[in-house]
Amino acid sequence: MGRQLSGFLVAAALGCWLAPLPKAVAAAPTTALTRAEVQHMLRRFSFSAPPQTVTSVLAQGEAAWLASQDNWQALDDSGSELETLPTQLVNGGYPDYNIFERAVYQHMILTPRQLQAKLELHWLDHFAVGLQTVGDPAVMYHYDQTIRANALGNFATLLEAIANEPAMMIWLSNNYNYCPSPNENFARESMQLYSTGIYQLNSDGSIKMKGTTPLLNYTQDDVKNIARAMAGYNVYFDPNNNDPQTRFSVQYYPQTNCGPIKYFGKTQNIPTDGTSLTYVMAQLAYRPSVAPFEVTELLQRFVTETPPAQYISDITAVWQATKYAPDQIAQVINAIVNHPLFNTYYRSMDKQPAELVFGALRQIPTVMQATANVTPGSSLLYELSNLSQQLFWPPTVFSFYRPGYLSQLTNTGSVLDRTGVFANITNAQQSGAYTDTYIDVPALRTLIGSTEGSAIAAYLLDAFLDGGSPTLQSKLSGFLGKTPDDNQVLGGIWLLLNSPDYAVN
């Protein structure tokens, strides 16, 4: 093999291993689903699923699964919180970052509200906020709870809620933003990253041009004036208050020296009662480019890094038609799944590091436990850190990668790093002092109902690789032998998790 760059191959990756049947847009499929189609959908819209769940969804249909996930409040989530949050977030007077992060990761793996959890990851990427700046896990916990609660809701509501979060105020400097010299940070990114994008877009995601020049969604003067419109908010911290729910608060001070505020070509009547952030976000949420901008990013995260114009256009129409609906995002996701092109992207993009780790742990019996001391060692924090995707420590405002550039995360360093991460996971033992996660091999045998190597191989291949190739099946069975012991089973799991086909979605 030469030093071929994966991105160039990924861009051409429209061919698929199986030939899925097309579906109608926004309508339940009328043809029988294949097991691989269900596995494809569950990889994209959950953190993968064990074989028995795939079988169940195959029987009930994707529409029924999506409907149950859309009605997430009805799914019992009580077993997914292993930590006692938020009371543990301030541990003996000091913020405890590890407990917060581990709790979120464990929740993403354990929760039956998988679609919500996957959208939570998407919005955490989209509205990336870092603990390195926010500083207090109690503030970040509040932020994550807001994202989770609105993940499948209405985009305008989500945007308004995010703007009013103390974590966002601190991250993008809208905290202590005063007239007459406002801080432009949040004003710029609230458009560029969070709503409209830089360029005016057509409904199919293409850039509107005037001659050879792209048209912009905002001017520098718009940025300045929107910053003035959103001035006056302060986040107050009381480090001596050990109650994570009350140690921070937001206060608003009406600004009297902003002068006339004019943006998007109009002089604006900005409220001075502490609702100006909500007022501005409500304007931004319905700007013309928001629908194709947000839809393109959803498709890039969930379907393909290079979505075709027709796919964007079709989903943009759904976004616009549901823009006032309280379950707008859920309806958009349903339309994405039901689109005729969805299944053509079977195994066509890389997994994010979080998907690699969480997916592995969801597909086989895994024990997760709350422990007071988890670093360093076999902990979820450690593994996500090793793969450079600790969710609450994004390196930039673009999060861990810019949509469309996921393949940059697959490189000579990362493919070797993940061998170490999967070694940690498969090596972890219940008796490990720092272990919060380990694979339960006896439970795996019980689930399969066999101690035979061939049965275990078949189960693992179905779980991780949709069956895998005959050559791979043969190699794995040969490795496991007739009745593999625990270490052999764990070795087999390590082998499959490091196979190239596991790394793609």
Binding site: M1, G2, Q4, L5, S6, G7, V10, A12, A13, G15, C16, S173, Y176, N177, Y178, S181, N183, E184, N185, R188, Q192, I198, P214, L216, Q220, Y346, R347, D350, S388, T396, V397, Q408, T410, N411, G413, S414, V415, L416, D417, T419, G420, F422, A423, T426, N427, L465, G468, T471, K475, F479, P484, N487, Q488, L490, G491, G492, W494, L495, P500, D501
Partner: protein, 422 residues
């Protein structure tokens, strides 16, 4: 001449000969005539005005950077007497207390030392041209600096450094390497760059448990050669194969040159140390990427940027001292780039928002020290109220591409006159 490692590996019959191979490479002629460029990306948009301060414009600087009485420790404007200690002129031989033209920010003691060597070029007023229609966006600015193009929108072109080196035989490790853990656009071409997440000593396969570790390794090797079921899987497989090929060479270089006494106070030091080890080991790599984050200083800038600048200067000094101890500095050039500069005036968070012109540093034995470009006026700004860009960033890249033996015109899309710093 540089030995083509891939060919040598084939003729020697595999990894078992690697220590000997490295030994032989050490004994052969090195890349004496070929420039090795190390790009350090200051992520977020470094505030050039608080990096190199124009002393004749101090009054304006002070006013712009003092929007109100600052909270303790958050003053942005450096006192004049502190600046005088690190002052410098266009002529690098003028000592600080006699210099009247510029000053490094007070924490940049190491950078001032580098300037005194006569091998540090300060490119003043550098940035994106007004023709870039959204140069104040991190995304656009980063794409521009990495590709040598402007207004590239949603296109994914190649990086200028990758394009410069695309026809260079860098040996089996390829011509480019990123130490940042991912692939920056700067070094993308149709070939897979080497990416290392330091320390390079851990670059390798880490096996899980099994009854027999040897058997696991054998099966892993066999599985890695089974064709993946999808095109994306095949792409992943290609990366894996490249990585597996690289392991032996990287590990041999790591063992050969341990750099045990290298000071490692910062993540940038880790990256530069391992770049230094690859250079010292004659890896054949000609383009390196490292990065330092934290320069997006919209608030409380005085609490972060001074530390970053001190860390940057010291990291470059550590890097060169290490290379000097091995007598391999001759071809090595380090440059710093950043998205953009900041606004002339500070905001009331005592931070600075996205602006235009900034400064870049280029250091190396081949570099003619001094100040290049015209420092922007602090009285008259560009149409957006920002520091005026007097040196188009592509002009700097053009000189570096030429120094590396490349032709800048097709890469940058136009021809630029030499600035003369290299």
């Amino acid at each position: 001449m540089l030995i083509k490692r891939r060919n040598v590996l084939g003729s020697l019959g595999g990894m078992a000969m690697l220590p000997l191979l490295v030994e032989s490479l050490q004994a052969t002629e090195t890349t004496d005539t070929n420039t090795i460029l190390v790009v350090i990306y200051l992520q977020g948009g470094n505030d050039g005005l608080n990096t190199v301060i124009p002393l004749p414009q101090y009054k304006y600087y002070y006013n712009l950077r003092t929007p109100a009485d600052p909270p303790p420790g958050e003053a942005l404007a450096y006192p004049l007497d502190a600046l005088q200690l690190l002052a410098f002129d266009s002529n690098p031989s003028v000592p600080p207390l006699q210099a009247t033209e510029y000053a490094f920010a007070p924490p940049m003691v190491a950078m001032r030392d580098l300037y005194a060597t006569g091998n540090l070029a300060v490119i003043a007023g550098v940035g994106l041209p007004l023709a870039e229609i959204n140069g104040l966006s991190h995304s656009n600015a980063t794409m521009d600096w990495m590709t040598g193009q402007i207004n590239i929108g949603l296109v994914q072109p190649s990086g200028w450094l990758g394009s410069t080196l695309v026809n260079v035989n860098g040996g089996s490790l390829g011509p480019t390497c990123s130490m940042s853990g991912n692939i920056p656009l700067l070094i993308t071409t149709e070939t897979q760059p080497l990416v290392i997440n330091p320390p390079m000593d851990y670059f390798g396969v880490h096996y899980g448990v099994s009854d027999d570790g040897k058997k696991l390794a054998e099966v892993y090797k066999a599985i890695s050669n089974i064709p993946a079921l999808s095109t994306s899987g095949q792409a992943d497989e290609a990366v894996m194969q490249t990585a597996l090929t690289d392991i032996g060479i990287v590990k041999s270089l790591a063992k050969k040159e341990k750099a045990k006494d290298y000071p490692l106070p910062s993540w940038l030091d880790y990256q530069l140390r391992d770049i230094g080890r690859l250079i010292a080991g004659n890896s054949g790599i000609r383009g390196f990427f490292a990065e330092q984050g934290g320069y997006d200083t919209h608030s409380a800038q005085a609490l972060s940027q001074p530390n970053l600048l001190a860390e940057l200067g010291q990291a470059i000094v550590n890097f060169y001292e290490y290379l000097s101890s091995l007598n391999v500095t001759k071809n090595v050039v380090v440059m710093t780039v950043s998205d953009f500069g900041r606004r002339p005036n500070a905001n009331l968070n005592f931070g600075t928002d996205h602006g235009a012109a900034s400064v870049s540093f280029v250091f190396g034995n081949q570099v003619k020290g001094g100040v290049y470009g015209t420092y922007p006026s602090l009285k008259k700004f560009d149409p957006n109220g920002n520091l005026k860009v007097n040196v188009d960033f592509r002009n700097v890249l053009s000189d570096l591409i030429v120094a590396m033996g490349g032709n800048p015109t097709p890469i940058l899309g136009e021809t630029w006159p030499s600035l003369g710093f290299i």
